[in-house]
Amino acid sequence: MAGFFTSRLFFVSLVLVVIAATLPLYVSGYVLGLLTVAFYFGVFAMAWDLLFGFAGEVNFGPTFLIGVGAYTAGILNAQFGWSVYLCIVLGALASVVAGLVLALPALRVRGPYFGLTTLVAVLMLQNFVVVFADLTGGEIGLTIPDVITINAGANYWIALGFMTISAAILYGLSQSPIGLVLQASGQDPVQAGALGFNIVKHKLAAFIVSAFFSGLSGALLVFYFGTASVGTVVDVAVGVNVIVSAVLGGRRTVLGAALGAIFLIVAGEFLRPTGELATFIVSAVALLVVLFFPGGFLGAALSREARS
C-alpha cells in the first residue's frame, strides 16, 4: 500500500486529475457536460469491477443498483419535495438495501445462474417503473424539480471530485487485505474458504460497497440530468455499457474501469456524425479489445511496465 504513493500509476493518476480539474477554465460547457456524465459512469464501472474483477461475480444487473438509487432519490424529491442532499443519501442507502436483498439469494448460486438472477432483477425493476407510472413517471421518465446547481463548471467539479474520492476508496479497498481475500475467493472459493476466510461475508461486503457507490452515483446523476428515466439509469443497454467499460479499461484494475467509461462516452460522442453506426463501431472496437487485449487498456499498459 505504501508503495502505491511512490508508484508511477499514482503520479499518472494525480497528474490526470489535476489536469482534469483545470478543464473548466478553458473548455466549453458542452465538453464539460459530456465529461460530467462520463465521470458518473466511471463510478458505475469501478463499482462493477470491484464485484466482478475481485469477487469474481458476474453481475449482469449493475443498473438494478444504479436504478434503485437514482429512482429513490428522484421520487423522494419529486413526490415529497425533500431536500436534494437528503435524497441523495437516502438513494445511496436504498441502493445498499436493494444490494442486500439481491445478494442474499443471488450468492447462493454461481456463475451463469448468478448472472441471470441479477439480470432478472433489472427486468423486474424496469417492469416496476412502468407499472407504477403514477409514482415513477413510467416510460416517459420522472421530472425532478431540484438540481444541485445549474453551473456547468460546478457540476463538473462535483462529478470529478466524487469520481476521484470513489476511485481512491475503491482502489484502496481492492489493494487492502479485504481485496486480496475477495480476489482469492473469486479464483478458488473452496481453497479460500479452507484458509479460514468467510467468503460469503466478504462477498456480501463487496456487494454492499458496490451498491453504495452505484446508488450514490445514480442519485447524483439524476440530480444532474434533472430527470430519471428507464433509458438512462435502468435499461439493460446501460448495464451493458457499464460492463463493456470495465472490461475495456481492464478488469481487476478499478482505475481502468473509469478510463474505459470515459473512453466509451467520449468515443460515442465523437462518432455521433456517423449516425446510427456509432454503437456498431464502439461495440466492434470493444470486441477487438476483448479478443486481442483481454487485459484491457490499463491491463496492457501495466503488464508492459512490469515486463520492462
Binding site: L116, V236, A284, L287
Partner: protein, 291 residues
Amino acid sequence: MRAFQILIDGFAISALYALGATGFTLIFGVSGVLNLSHGAIMVAAAVAAWAAASVLGVGTYAGALIGVGVALLAAFATYFAVVKPIQDSRRIPNEEKEIFVLTGTLLWGIMIQELIAYFFTNNAKTVLPIVEGVVDVLGVRTPKNEIFTAIVCCLVIALLWLLVNRTRTGKAVLAASMNPRGVTLLGLELTNIYIVVWGIYGILAGIAGVLLGMFLGVSSYSVGPLTASAFSIVVLGGLGSVSGSLIAAFVVGYLETLTAYLVSPAYRTIPALLLLVFVMYIRPQGLLGRR
C-alpha cells in the same frame, strides 16, 4: 371459449419458445457457451426472410430458406470470429473464459443488431406467412399460420431428437456434452463436433426466427428480449438439459399467455420472472438440471 383460446395461443407461443431455446441449451450443454447473440441471430434470420420475400420478391418459401441460411452463416461467424478465438486464447485465464465469451457474444449481438437497424431501419417487420387464412378450432378463430408455426416447431424438435439419439453424429454430440475429454480419447475431433452443434444451432435459431417473424413480427428492438427469454427458459429448465428447456418453454409460454389474457398484456412477463427468481432460490440448478 376463452380457455380454448388461451390453450391454442399459448401452445403456439410455447412451441416457438421451445424451438428458440433448444439450440441455445444444446450449445451450452456441449461446449459450455452461453451465446448472448442468440436474439440477434434470430432477428437476422427473420429480417433476411422479410427482405428476400417482400423486397426482392423471391417468394415465401425461398425467403424462409434464405432466412435460415443467414442464421446458419451468422451462427458459424459467431463461433469462428468470437467464441473459438476466446476459447483458444492463451492470454485469457481458463476460469475467466466464461465471462469473456459472455461479453464477446453480447458485443457481437449488438453489432448484428446495429447493422440490421442501419440497413433495414428499426421498424417492425412481418414476414409474409407461408400459409394464409383462418380456420375454426374448437370455436376459436385461429390463423392457419399459428397452427403451421406450432406444427413446424414440433416437427423440428422431433427431428432434432431423432438426430441426437439415433444417428452417429448425434451420439457423438451427446457424448461430448457428457464428457468432452472422453470423446477426444475415442478419437473424435472435438472441434468438428462443435462445428456440427453450431450448425444445428444456426438452423434451429433460423427456423425459430423466421417463424417468429411470420407469427408476431420482429424489429431490431426484439433482440434483447429474445435473448433474455431464451436465457431464462434455459436456466429455468436447467442449463444444458434439452427436455428441461422444453418443459420450461411451455411453462413460460402459458404463464405469459394467461397473464396477457386474464390480467393485462402490460404485465405479460412479470409472473414468469417471479417464477424464475423463485425457482432459482429453491432449486438453483433449474427444473431438470444437474449440479
